[in-house]
């Protein structure tokens, strides 16, 4: 009996060894890194590939900034609704993940100069009878991602809102017919429609509700880093690098200017 217990304990201990090794491996950090965060679920801006790499427009911009600052980039992914909390807790140096600059967010973080412009637009089913925001009423159900600026837009439209974790879910719900329309970023919508199975049943309607200005968020008291990044961003604008990154991801479209 005693021996068996001992054996059990040894087996359990051995099992736990790779865990500790892994924990150590995850925290390994070079001395000179800069870390930016995004949700990792926002293609084509930031998303995880099959090889477990983060890619996208945001990631390329982050990599270019890091390189020009002579630092190694660590791009972290985390749930969108906790991303500001993570920044305030110092889990990363900045949020470079398509975050729109808003007054409310400005109260808790500081933003860099804008690095691209976009705006929310409605996505509907082609045969759904909705041809723009004017066709929505208080019975219409709109799907959108929790923690986004689009919640306010939906409020102004006076519609019912269902909240989801990311736009994959909202668009699936639209295809399933549980929501009448999805409100999301124009470029995210375009990309999703082109890639989603049955995406050809969906279409963007109306024009963008307003222009959103995307910035990199920093901790409130981190003015030094923010200034440095602003200078690098300006450099990237001046020599055309920012435009090139945009053209690479958006079929030659330059979204970095208003």
């Amino acid at each position: 009996m005693k021996k068996r217990l001992q054996i059990t304990m040894i087996v359990l201990l051995v099992l736990s060894v790779p865990g500790f090794l892994f924990a150590g491996g995850q925290q390994e950090e070079g001395a000179e890194t800069i870390s930016f965060a995004g949700s990792g679920g926002y293609p084509p801006f930031n998303f995880i590939t099959e090889d477990n790499e983060v890619e996208g427009f945001d990631v390329d911009v982050a990599a270019e900034i890091a390189e020009r600052m002579g630092l190694e980039l660590e791009y972290k992914t985390t749930a969108w609704d906790g991303i500001i909390e993570g920044l305030r807790a110092g889990r990363y140096d900045g949020i470079l993940g398509s975050m729109a600059i808003t007054e409310e967010r400005e109260k808790v973080v500081d933003f860099s100069d804008p690095y691209y412009y976009s705006g929310p637009q409605l996505i509907v089913k082609k045969d759904g009878g909705i041809n723009g925001p004017e066709d929505l009423d208080s019975d219409s159900v709109i799907g959108l991602v929790t923690g986004t600026t689009f919640e306010k837009d939906a409020e102004q439209l006076g519609v019912q809102v269902k909240l989801y974790e990311d736009d994959n879910q909202t668009l699936l719900e639209l295809l399933n017919g549980r929501v009448d329309a999805v409100l999301t970023d124009r470029i995210v919508g375009l990309n999703a429609i082109s890639q989603l199975k049955d995406g050809d049943q969906l279409t963007l309607v109306g024009s963008t509700l307003r222009t959103e200005t995307m910035g990199i968020a920093f901790q409130d008291d981190d003015d030094e880093l923010r200034e440095q990044v602003n200078a690098v961003l300006q450099e990237m604008r001046d020599d055309g690098t920012l435009r090139q990154i945009s053209e690479k991801w958006f079929d030659g479209e330059d979204i970095t200017v208003e």
Partner: protein, 223 residues
Amino acid sequence: MNINLPWDLSVVPEKFFLFRDAALLTLEITTLGILTGLVLGLIVALGKLSQHQFTSKLASAYIFVIRGTPLLLQLFIIYYGLTSIVTIPPFPSAIIALGVHNGAYIGEIFRGAIQSIHYGQMEAARSLGMTHRKAMRRIILPQAFKRAVPPLGNQFIIALKDSSLASTIAVPELLLRGRQMGSSTFMYMEMLIIVALWYLIMTSLLTYGVHRLEQRLKVSDHD
């Protein structure tokens, strides 16, 4: 009725092994969480059965708080709430949360098992001259452990599935990996089905392991 499935199951075998690392991570969180839970559980059970009023109250309070609040909430408090004191990275946060959470449940499992051992056993051991502590260690706990195995197995399976909550604090375990892959490939349901298969494989192995342990422990049973 349109039965044309909106998803493409043919990708399931082809993408299946893209989840191997994530599955390993799930296994690691679960194993370390359970180990922490076992240690805490034993302390809690002995604490609750202790004659010292304070120790017993403390153990009761622990169970009261942990069992009375959702694991997801505990995870958020450890990950986001403690940052003013100490910033714990995602992976250890998940293990601490899972361990602390399971400590309360495992504590109750141990307590039940210990109390199920007839008090005559303790009396007999004491009358043979053993101290309370020695009797507990040599007579009561080994028998109690055997009785605790079936409910422990149950708890381990729950812990394995609960580890999926770590997806909310950026631990790239199975569920998060599934959602990320679903998000980038636009094959959400397909990826979730793969995740489900991985969980089923792991829970099956765990069930089998616990069953084997039960069988082996039975060898010394004479009743």
